[in-house]
Symmetry: C2
Subunit: 344 residues, 2 copies
């Protein structure tokens, strides 16, 4: 014989063949027992079970994935995972995925620009994922994502994508609720501390603010301050706003910035809510427990996670469906102690 061929790859743990050998049956039978497929005589099943136990056999997922052409894994893409919004979404997606028996792999995309997203997304495709959920807190042109055409995608963002189905909170309405609340308290005008300009959620919140003001007859709203979601940026904006006596109320695009803003206000000697009312957005866990507790717009993260996973799996079951509906999650105003009627 011509000694050709080559040994295959590395062995990992006990394989189905090892179990079969020990139990004195065919690999086939072991598979049947292991997967619960097909008829097996109770006697045989017992023998196999014992062998499985004894060897500590667990099925090799790579082999199964190779055979089935799927991994049972969802990739979760975001710029970072250490912020409140991402963490809450991640946890929510994870729970929803679990329910459907999927696991979740994280991929961080360092760069905001489309250039940053794409290589990471490609890397993700080389990873073991069947579909991708993208959290887009900011970073504009995601339409250029250039993912493989067959890769199912769902996006957490505030606006239809054209290409991929998306899920979003009803940011526009949420912002209006915040502003209407302030207006209802008697404020003549509401200032705004917005998120980054390349963030769609930030834009929607600003639009809601502007619209609510317009409907109340304030046709030329004050300039909006721009932050980057961080408390630092809220603090910076706060030092400016604090100096303007015309400011009696501020609607902030997220809670973190609201806290930074309030600290600046406080340091400038303007008290909340007596001198200026503040409304946040998100309702993070801490907002209930700051002094004073923050009035804010609550996002339903668990529901978003569920929607995201639902939309993604729908695509995986029916690849490239003609049209996938988007998801929209309602928001809720939570009135706490940072809002009050204006002085005098």
């Amino acid at each position: 014989m011509t000694g050709k061929g080559a040994r295959g790859g590395r062995k990992t743990g006990p394989s189905i063949a090892d179990v079969a050998r020990l139990a004195g049956v065919s690999a086939q039978t072991v598979s049947r027992v292991s997967t619960g497929t097909g008829p097996v005589r109770p006697e045989t099943r017992d023998r196999v079970m014992r062998a499985i136990e004894q060897l500590g056999y667990t099925p090799n997922r790579a082999a199964r994935a190779l055979r089935d052409g799927r991994y049972g894994t969802i990739g979760l893409l975001a710029r970072r995972f250490d912020r409140t919004g991402e963490a809450l979404t991640t946890d929510a997606v994870l729970r929803a995925a679990e329910e459907r028996d999927y696991s979740v792999t994280l991929l961080r995309v360092p760069d905001t620009s489309a250039k940053g997203w794409e290589p990471a997304a490609r890397r993700l495709q080389h990873q073991t994922v069947d579909g991708i959920i993208i959290i887009r807190a900011e970073g504009g042109a995601g339409d250029q994502l250039a993912l493989p055409a067959t890769m199912p995608v769902a996006v957490s963002d505030s606006r239809p994508h054209g290409r991929y189905p998306h899920v979003a909170s009803d940011e526009f309405t949420g912002a209006r609720m915040a502003v209407d609340h302030l207006l209802g308290l008697g404020h003549r005008v509401v200032h705004h501390l917005g998120g980054p300009l390349d963030s769609e959620p930030a834009r929607m919140r600003a639009a809601g603010w502007r619209t609510a003001l317009a409907e109340a007859g304030v046709l030329t709203p004050p300039d909006a301050a721009i932050g980057d979601w961080s408390s630092e940026s809220g603090y910076a904006a706060g030092t400016v706003l604090a100096a303007d006596p015309a400011v009696t109320s501020v609607f902030c695009a997220n809670d973190e910035m609201a806290f930074g803003l309030m600290l600046a206000l406080h340091e400038a000697g303007r008290s909340v809510p007596a001198d200026v009312s503040v409304v946040g957005f998100d309702d993070i866990a801490l907002s209930r427990f700051t002094s004073p507790p923050l009035t804010t717009i609550r996002q339903d993260f668990p529901e978003m996670g569920r929607e995201l996973v639902r939309l993604l799996l729908a695509q995986m079951e029916t690849p490239r469906p003609e049209r996938v509906e988007d998801g929209i999650v309602p928001l809720e105003l939570v009135v706490r102690a940072t809002t009050a009627p204006p002085r005098a």
Copy 2:
């Protein structure tokens, strides 16, 4: 011919064979180009590259994993991922894993008890992971984890495990720094709001508090209040502590509880830091921006993530080494505005 055999599994995307056919070369050559292994004539390489481009070929990771006997993936186990501590650790681990070209799969373990951890851990083994990092914020008897003997594990916890290497902040020293700071300000005694009793980090922080007090001559420290890390529990403890005029300073086992405590203090008319000083633990992003900004002990999460990954990969390279050193990460006192000398 006897029509035996069976078709294999489902096709996913273009395979190496498809590329080979199109480029008019052997599968081997494609593999060589794709992996950058072995010599290929520039001409041939170009032809292959074009074919790859044209078909949008990307290697099938399941097949590679099957062959190599490894996945390039780390599993990250935690009770939940929506809290600050877990989110910071997750992000840190993710960054560290990326550097070493690993991806990270999340697994949530709903149950605190060892009973909850084990099935989840088994499930993880059935997942596509080469090793596991466990974040143990609470939930005691992790020694009974019963993971497969060959699975590398690293634990984020405060105390040697016996079984698995662990990484932890130097909680004991951190707690002492907090208490010494308060004592140095002139407080006669320092109260403590601790974490859950089944949490090792919580126990270490309480031990550090007790030791620092003892060294200062306070041999019978006041009873510690017990929380569950949440602001809610901090608030509850705060309502009790606020009623006790002997309380002039409190060291809290984390920042979230400190915020809850301070709100309760505030509502009871006791001001921070004039009436009572408060120190937290963690230094979460918001702590700098509350009013007043929180004095706290800063944890170095990125460093912890790096250590955790380093320890895990060390085991994977040298399976079951005789002894793996544990990691300990230093802590830092950050003095802000919630601490001051006692009144009078």
